[in-house]
């Protein structure tokens, strides 16, 4: 069953076509990577899916409903949770409070103007569970701004996970990490994807990360899809080789 369907999705900025008639479908339970060289339109595509920018043409269907006209926060309420290419956290709050605030967004209580013990219980539990699954329990009480860059990247994933999303969107989760940190992060993510039955859309340009994590790969080049399929097919595809991989395979 398709969880996310993009139909002829297009974004133009004046004369520049950032995303060019992209049609794509992601099934529930799938881990999909979108790859492409810098400027291929990967992040623009992310913004269109999550509603940060509105499409010029085409539609986004999520869980069998057209969400093209909905603003970002409403799409998030429907079950899309994302991370940012550049780490985006609440730096003065503890890691635990970061995940708690994320989890709280899916609760009816998020408007409650009364404090007291108990109101945060459910959100705190889901937040803590997410921290544990990303191996961050030992830094839970530290301010997020003081964590190592690697832990900050994982904390952002934990925040998204704490929302128990139907679709998890990760924008270059290993961006800016050292080689060792990348290897660690990839292991954590791989075991997370394997155990949780998550549907994931991943933008990444580190090929090793992509081939390790994704079930299926979509290749973008100058805003349009030039190849689509499982990792082996994509690796072997000639147009991909020419456009991008440059002899990697």
């Amino acid at each position: 069953m398709a969880l996310l369907e993009l139909d002829d999705l297009t974004k133009r900025y004046g004369g520049i076509v950032a995303v060019d008639h992209v049609t794509m479908r992601i099934d529930a339970g799938e881990v999909r990577a979108v790859i492409g060289p810098n400027g291929a339109g990967k992040t623009s595509l992310f913004h269109l899916i999550t509603g940060v920018v509105k499409a010029t043409e085409g539609s986004v269907r999520f869980a069998d409903q057209d969400v093209s006209a909905l603003p970002a926060h409403v799409r998030c309420q429907r079950g899309m949770s994302r991370t940012f290419q550049l780490t985006s956290l609440f730096p003065e709050m503890s890691a635990r409070d970061n995940t708690r605030l994320a989890a709280q967004a899916r609760e009816g209580k998020r408007w409650l103007p009364l404090g007291g013990s108990g109101v945060f219980h459910g959100a705190a539990q889901r937040g803590d569970a997410a921290l544990e699954r990303l191996g961050l329990t030992h830094v839970a009480d530290r301010p997020a701004g003081l964590l190592s860059h690697g832990d900050q990247r994982l904390l952002e994933v934990a925040m998204a996970l704490a929302q128990q999303p139907r679709l998890l969107l990760l924008d270059e989760p290993t961006q800016g990490l050292s080689v060792e940190e990348t290897a660690q992060a990839v292991e954590v993510l791989a075991s997370l994807f394997a155990s949780a039955g998550l549907t994931v859309l991943l933008v990444e340009h580190d090929m090793e990360v992509v081939f390790r994590l994704a079930h299926k790969i979509t290749v973008l080049h100058r805003g349009s899809v030039i190849a689509d399929g499982d990792p082996e097919t994509v690796k072997a595809d000639e147009s991909v080789q020419n456009a991008y991989l440059g002899g990697f395979a």
Partner: protein, 308 residues
């Protein structure tokens, strides 16, 4: 909680020991403290800098002044109703001002305050124009209840409003709603991405903050016996912002101390020189440079208590 009760008890005992002039000053300090606390909700918790908070204060003062002058409404009812009205009007104000963010937001709040200031000069039947409203009475309640018309009685009414507001605000900032405000303060884009409609939260906090500022203004009118356009002027907006920063933004208690400090320094300095504001300006600069956590932050770090 125990700390709060101790402070409340101490403040409640003060009328028995202080001379009348000091009581007047203290009452004014508490009113300004309430005003500063209301601004702290926006500045300290959501980082929404209002340059037009006097608009809410002056609005409350004119509203309660009119209720008291033209109806026989008992004083506490007039005060509460004026605050409530200020909050309701501020929903619209918040809706307009939150169209913008950052400095533009602040400029819109300033524009709103200056708009009210200009209106107050022209709308003579309601505001008395440049004369203002004078002789605002402390109307009695039913069955001859008049305890709030004495100096001590009015002080207790003010104290009750301040403590009630404090308890409400403290609950608010510790609640899920308050957690979202802190999210907006630290990273609004992320807060939106998490699925929060941040605009609505901002409108709500503007309304609540303006409502309590209106309550403070509504107390000021019967306290002073008059309401004039100065209560709407940008100078007051700037002063209350200084009280918040000097006292310690984002602490609720700090701004009250900031207001007390401001009033005290004003009294002391103005007995030496007419240009007291110049010297207070120096104090303010020193605070910003060397004590950005404010008075309450200093007290907390001295005595090692957790922030309230």
């Amino acid at each position: 909680m125990r700390f709060l009760i101790a402070v409340a008890a101490l403040l409640a005992l003060l009328p028995f020991g202080l001379p009348p002039y000091a009581m007047t000053l203290l009452t004014e300090a508490l009113i300004l403290g309430l005003f500063a606390m209301s601004l702290d909700l926006m500045v300290g918790y959501a980082r929404l800098i209002s340059f037009g908070h006097a608009a809410a204060y002056g609005f409350g003062a004119y509203a309660s002044g009119n209720f008291l002058l033209h109806t026989s409404m008992p004083l506490p009812c007039a005060v509460l109703l004026a605050g409530l009205l200020g909050g309701l009007v501020a929903i619209g104000v918040g809706w307009v001002c939150t169209q913008a963010t950052g400095v533009s937001f602040s400029m819109l709040t300033l524009a709103y305050a200056q708009l009210l200031y200009a209106v107050a000069f022209k709308w003579t039947p309601v505001t008395g124009a440049s004369d203002g409203l004078a002789g605002i009475p402390r109307n009695p309640g039913p069955f001859g209840v008049t305890w709030w018309s004495t100096k001590a009685g009015f002080y207790y009414l003010t104290l009750a409003c301040l403590l009630g507001t404090f308890v409400f605000c403290r609950e608010l900032v510790r609640s899920p709603f308050g957690a979202v405000l802190r999210g907006i303060r630290e990273n609004e884009a992320k807060t939106i991405a998490l699925g929060y409609n941040t605009r609505r939260y901002k409108i709500a906090i503007v309304a609540i903050s303006f409502g309590f500022a209106g309550l403070a203004g509504a107390l000021y009118a019967p306290f002073a016996g008059f309401a004039n356009t100065e209560l709407l002027f940008w100078l007051l907006s700037g002063q209350v912002l200084i009280m918040v920063i000097v006292g310690g933004a984002g602490t609720l208690i700090g701004p009250v101390l900031g207001a007390v400090f401001f009033l005290y320094m004003q009294q002391q300095l103005s007995s030496y020189t007419d240009s007291w504001a110049l010297f207070f300006g120096v104090i303010f600069v020193l605070f910003v440079l060397f004590m950005p956590e404010g008075i309450w932050g200093l007290i907390l770090s001295r005595f090692g208590k957790k922030a309230a």
